[in-house]
Subunit: 132 residues, 4 copies
C-alpha cells in the first residue's frame, strides 16, 4: 500500500571514522539520499521543488545501529513512506549489507515555503502514496 | 542527581546547507562534542580511553528540530547524563540560541573492547553520575 | 599512455552550503571517490589493500574552482594518473557539468605501511600505468 | 606588515577517518574557520557581510600534509593574509601541534555579489591589511 524504494550505497572513505566504521551521523546522509531517490522514481526532482518554492525540512529523525559498516561495503537502503498528510511525510529506513540489518531509521519531513512558513505538500506529492 | 554540562558552539560555514541552515545531520556532531566535553570535565580524555581499549559506540540516536540555526549563530548545548548502567550510557541534549530551544536530542552509547565485543563501562566511568 | 577514468557524481544535498553551492572541501571527497574507482577498474579494491598493509595517504592537494555546482547537478569527474614512481602517485582531476569545466584539481598520494612508514607501492600498482 | 591570526582547534571525532587521522578534506574546514576568525578580530562578522550582499567564494586552495593529526589533538592554526587586491584576498596557513608543523595551506578568495558577479571587496575590508 505504501511506496517503497531501494538504493545501493557504496561507503566512501571520508565517511568512516577512527573506529574504522561509518560515523553514525553519516546514516542521515544515506537516508536523505534515499528520500531524494524515492522522489526521483516518483517523477520529482527535489531541486525543481525548491525552485518552485517547496522546501522539505527535517523535523524529526531517529536511528538504531545494530552492526557497523566500513569502507568497501556496498549497502542496500530500503526506504518506505509510512504517512503523507497535510504538510508532513514520514519515512522508515532499513539499511542492510547483504541480508544483515545494520540500522533502522525513521524521519518526519515538513513542508515549508521560501520564508520557512509551513505549507501543505503539493497535491501531487501528497498523492504519492496512492500513485506508486 | 545527574551530571550536566553546557558548551558553546559556533556554527561553522561548512555545516550549513543550501537552505541556509545547519544541516540536520550536523546536530549529531554537536551532541558528540557535548559527550567529549562532558567526559573531559569529569576527568576523562576519550582519546585515552580508546588507547586503553575502551571504545564508546553509538547504538541509538534521535533528534527533534524546532527552529533552524545558521552560520553566525552561537549555540548553547546542554547535555545531561540520564542513565549509566552496565555497558550503556544515555544522554539527552537541549540546543539553544539565547533562550530559544532549537532542538532536543537523545542518544544511547554502548561500551565495546578493541574487538567490538560488549564490555562493562570502566568502573570510574560507571560511577560518573554520582561523583559529579 | 596514462590511465584515465571517468565517473558520474550526483551532488548530495548535505554537500551544499548556505551559498547554495557545493562546499569547496567536498571536491576532495569527489577526487577521492575518483581514485577509489580508478583502482577498482584496474582490479584493486582499496579496502583489500589496507587489509594487506598498504595505506595510501594524501601528501598534497590543490584545486581551482571555475564555476559553482549545486544540488540537482550530475557531474562528470575525469581522473588521470600522471605519475607513479617509488612510493608516490600523482593524479589530476577535471570536474564537468555537461561540457562546462567546473574545477581542476591535483593530488599526490604516498604509500605507507600499517605503522605509517613510507614503503614502495606494491609492484602491481606501480605497473598500473602500463597495464591499462 | 600583513595581518596574522592564530586560533586553537580541537580535533572532533567525526573529523577522523578509518586510518585514525583527520581526513585531508577537513583541513579546509579549519582554514575556513581561520578566515572567519581573522575577519572577526578585524571587526567583521562574515554572516553580516553576506546579509549585506558581500559573498566571499573560494577560487583556489592547496595544502601540503607533513604529519597526520588525530582525535585528542589540540592544533594551532596560524593564518596570514598575504594579499588583498581588487576582488581578491590570499591567505596562507600553517597548522601545528605543539611546535610540529603538520600542514601548510594557501587559498585565494574572490568577492562576488548576491548574483555571483565579481565585485570589489568592500573598502574597509580591502584596507584590512594596513589597519591591523
Amino acid at each position: 500500500m505504501h511506496s517503497h524504494h531501494e538504493i545501493a550505497i557504496r561507503v566512501r572513505y571520508h565517511e568512516t571514522d577512527a573506529q574504522g566504521h561509518v560515523h553514525h551521523a553519516i546514516y542521515f546522509h544515506y537516508f536523505e539520499l534515499g528520500r531524494t531517490e524515492l522522489l526521483r522514481v516518483a517523477g520529482y526532482d527535489y531541486a525543481d521543488l525548491e525552485r518552485n518554492g517547496v522546501f522539505l525540512v527535517v523535523t524529526e529523525v531517529a536511528c538504531r545501529y545494530y552492526q557497523p559498516c566500513r569502507f568497501g561495503d556496498t549497502l542496500r537502503l530500503v526506504i518506505e513512506t509510512t504517512a503523507i498528510r497535510g504538510a508532513r511525510m514520514r519515512h522508515i529506513y532499513h539499511l542492510y549489507r547483504d541480508e544483515i540489518l545494520l540500522a533502522k531509521g525513521e524521519s518526519t519531513i515538513g513542508c515549508v515555503d521560501a520564508h520557512g512558513k509551513v505549507r501543505r505538500l503539493p497535491e501531487t506529492l501528497a498523492n504519492l502514496e496512492a500513485t506508486q
